[in-house]
Amino acid sequence: MNAKPRLNIGAVRSSFAPWADPSASPLVRFEAVTKRFGGETAVDAVSLDIYEGEFFALLGPSGCGKTTLMRMLAGFETPDAGRITLAGQDLAGRPPHLRPVNMMFQSYALFPHLSVAQNIAFGLRQQKKPKGEVAARVDEMLALVRLEGLAHRKPDQLSGGQRQRVALARAIAPKPRMLLLDEPLGALDRKLREETQFELMALQQRLGMTFLIVTHDQEEAMITADRIAVMRAGQLAQIGRPAEVYEAPNSRYVADFIGDVNLFEARVTEDDGDIIRLASPEAPDGLEAIEDDEVPVGSTAWLAVRPEKMRVHLDPPPPGPNRLEGQVADIGYLGDWTTYLVELPGGRTIRAARANASRVVERPVDWDDKVWLTFAPDSAVVLTQ
């Protein structure tokens, strides 16, 4: 699970890594937090540290417990076991209105009877701020989310994107220690969602506020977050930077949940400390991967290779490891990418993706073509669980 410095996995803000600093104390700490609903365990002994200034994403399919975890931090659910601390203080027994965190709700939950400005001022009014200060902060927030002209509109007179920005401004206005975003972009259409992802990231950097986002959309988490916690059935499957989670998944679940992946079940035949060699009936010349972790020889492992790391050849490449042979079963042309589904002799289909870097291709790959697939040893990840 540790980063492998030799592979030099890229990161967005490489200088920002408080989690790697043993002297840093986290802003929020979940300690073995468990929550049960009836007989079902929604959150199962989750321990997690989130640091000041971090953009942290909880990623997982619906029902994995990510929203419950967030709602426990906001105070809307009470943990059955474990402890949540914020800036060192135990939050147990503290109701939502006394917690210095604000939440942006999935439905936005804008107050329909109040104007945009009154919605944004709501939290400030509860803090009993003087009138002038409230008005100034509301104007500042309206400018921040570019809604200056709409202060007196009611929520039902706004578009979806505008409502989303009002909800954001309302949650930021009281200057919480941490902003919680529950599927914040789920209701927006694709184009707007992509724009907003970058805006959200820029906003977080500018405010220097700690953001915790809950999402089922891996793209949203990858783009916005400093670190991602991938959740599965109430437990944390992996925590890491987006590139770590994508390029160095620690399990088949994570590899499969984030992006597409080809998995080869294989037997480990050799481990010389650097390179692991594996045998699989699907690769006549064997498989090879660079891996620092020890894998016992003779055990079963899975080799994970992302489609974009598969090279497609129409002419047979020289024999060697990581060489597969098959027939093109289907082609998916996406404009920027083309995905090839290649059927191996054993009947399994492998995905290979290629960026369409130029408009014209000399020899296009066609349906039913015989092709060879190869990949570099450092493009493959050995998974044991």
């Binding site: 209105h97 604000n102 939950a109 329909p112 709501f122």
Partner: protein, 263 residues
């Protein structure tokens, strides 16, 4: 190409509406009758309205009725709103189905039985019959109507709104007052109007539970009619119809308003 209503439609509507409203129209017309004989038209006059305001017995009964309606409608609305909150918010608690069916039972229970059982209760606890017994009885009658009206609105109310208010620093009671209440206010007002109107024209339950000094208008009218219909009765009935119609229309308008976009 939309054709107007057919002859059959027009006939059906005329008959139906006539059946419903002809007696009421007649009553209103005869309230302006100059003749002392109720069934003989003697020209237009408002003299019965004038004499009505001299009839202290009727005026006293009207005053009692308004007071009973006001107090019982207010009590029923508060209790009904609380019951609706309990039913919608508390989720699946033990006995929820029983509780909700018991809330709705008076809707279908014969008024005679409700009146009789209330009378028995008041007698057994030794409560002297009068203004308060009628008021309590009317609260019982109208409570379920208020519950139904408020509940219908609460069901469509997004609970995340109240959570958002609490998240932004409002204690639970304040979140309710600042966010939930303004959003369910039209339904609460409609519930009050409905309860007020129901209490205003109730005869059966009031006659079971009333006592000396608390004769309501419907009881007064009923007993007066048994002695012979006076044009004054027509006049006060017309006023009553006007009041009830205003209430019903207000309820309708309030309910319309909450359906317009804004939720």
């Amino acid at each position: 190409m939309r054709r107007g209503p057919s002859a059959f439609n027009i006939a059906a509507i005329t008959l139906g509406m006539g059946f419903l409203y002809l007696p009421i129209v007649l009553l209103v017309i005869y309230s302006f009758n100059a003749s002392r004989l109720v069934t003989v038209w003697g020209g237009f006059s408002t003299r019965w309205y004038a004499s009505l305001f001299q009839n202290e017995q009727l005026l006293a009964a009207a005053w009692v009725t308004l007071r009973v309606a006001f107090v019982s409608a207010t009590l029923a609305t508060v209790l009904g709103a609380l019951a609706a909150l309990g039913l919608v918010r508390a989720g699946r608690f033990r006995g929820r189905t029983l509780f909700s069916s018991m809330t709705y039972a008076p809707l279908v229970m014969p008024e005679v039985i409700l009146g009789l059982s209330l009378l028995l209760l008041f007698v057994s606890v030794g409560l002297p019959r009068g203004f308060w017994t009628v008021t309590i009885a009317h609260t019982t009658l109208t409570l379920c109507y208020a519950t139904v009206v408020v509940q219908a609105r609460l069901v469509s109310f997004d609970e995340a709104l109240e959570e958002a208010a609490r998240d932004l620093g409002a204690p639970p009671w304040k979140a309710f007052v600042l966010v939930t209440l303004p959003n369910i206010a039209p339904a609460v007002a409609a519930a009050w109007m409905l309860a007020f109107t129901l209490s205003l024209d109730d005869l059966v339950i009031a006659s079971f539970t009333t006592g000396p000094g608390a004769t309501t208008l419907p009881i007064r009218i009923y007993s007066a009619v048994r002695l012979g219909v006076s044009p004054e009765i027509n006049a006060i009935s017309t006023l009553l119809i006007g009041l009830v119609a205003t209430g019903v229309i207000a309820v309708y308008l309030l309910n319309m308003r909450r359906r317009t976009p804004g939720a």
